[in-house]
Symmetry: C2
Subunit: 209 residues, 2 copies
Amino acid sequence: MMKHFDKRALLSTDKSYRRDFVNCLSGYKSLNLIGTKSDSGKTNLAPFTQVFHIGASPPLIGILFRPHTAERHTLENILASKFFTLNHVTEAFYKEAHHTSARWEESEFQATGLEEEYLEGFWAPYVKASPLKIGCTLAEVQTLQINGTVMVIGEIAHVFVEEKALGEDGFISLETLGTVTVSGLDEYHVGRKLARLSYAKANVPLTEI
Amino acid sequence: MMKHFDKRALLSTDKSYRRDFVNCLSGYKSLNLIGTKSDSGKTNLAPFTQVFHIGASPPLIGILFRPHTAERHTLENILASKFFTLNHVTEAFYKEAHHTSARWEESEFQATGLEEEYLEGFWAPYVKASPLKIGCTLAEVQTLQINGTVMVIGEIAHVFVEEKALGEDGFISLETLGTVTVSGLDEYHVGRKLARLSYAKANVPLTEI
């Protein structure tokens, strides 16, 4: 049985229902902890599920920041310092990752016990426990007129990845890394592989790679 | 062992390696089939992994279109008609979904055997087999200066969702739906739930919902 919501029905649900519902609609979301550091040297760590691929040449990654949320520390640090890190989250520390979203007085690294790591002289802190860490420099900022969402585009300056997950063709196995994915605001999952499929051509059957 | 790539090392890999590698970096990606129809009535169906939540009030969803790719039929139809559908993909038809990315002469619905469905008088076709279908109207278009990527923002006009997956609080279980997620360009997964976690507060232990 399918349940139907039209726009009026959606807008008449209460705010909390609508937030949970609409956050599930796009499907599984990536999860990255973003590490930043303020001018005064205070570190910040926060979970983001609106991080996505933008291009491979040059290598670019995008992040959406909702207007007027607690996450603004991350955005302010990125705009001021021009540096940030993205860190995949695994089953071993997804609860600590979730807990970084609370309003802590101290740095979220200290608060949750996740260890900072500094690599190759990069300003922003990485998460030591993460099996895939990306160092980015700020490349472009755009504001979406429709609701004030801010889109930050970062250029990838460094990647650190667990060697055992990296294939000869450049493909990275997220299952080998143990990368976690999110649905809605607060449900965590790992992936179970179905298959990797060949490049699709018309009238040619697909094969598994 | 961690392997390190700096920007120079990344740019010196060959194009195919870099495309596979960079496409994996953001983590698991959502998968949606986008259904559209041209002015002349020809339907189109194509898989997209750059679809993301933008806001709940009003309910908005964003899609990135790479510049100069075969996917432009979808973009052209959206710009001309102002309507499109998003359809979750399950294990039952993810191979057909992948195959819609080939260059077919005929409509991808006919080519792959996925059945069109028209609901509530909406112009764009849904995928009948999908357990979560969204009808969107075009709300905003922006081009990213940095690489010509086009961002389309859709306002959600209709949602059709399998009732058994919908919780009382508005949360939708993607595992109950059987929704598929993608890594890189061509590896397909389903999710295995770890937990749903309580709203995070400083100095208060998390609980599982």
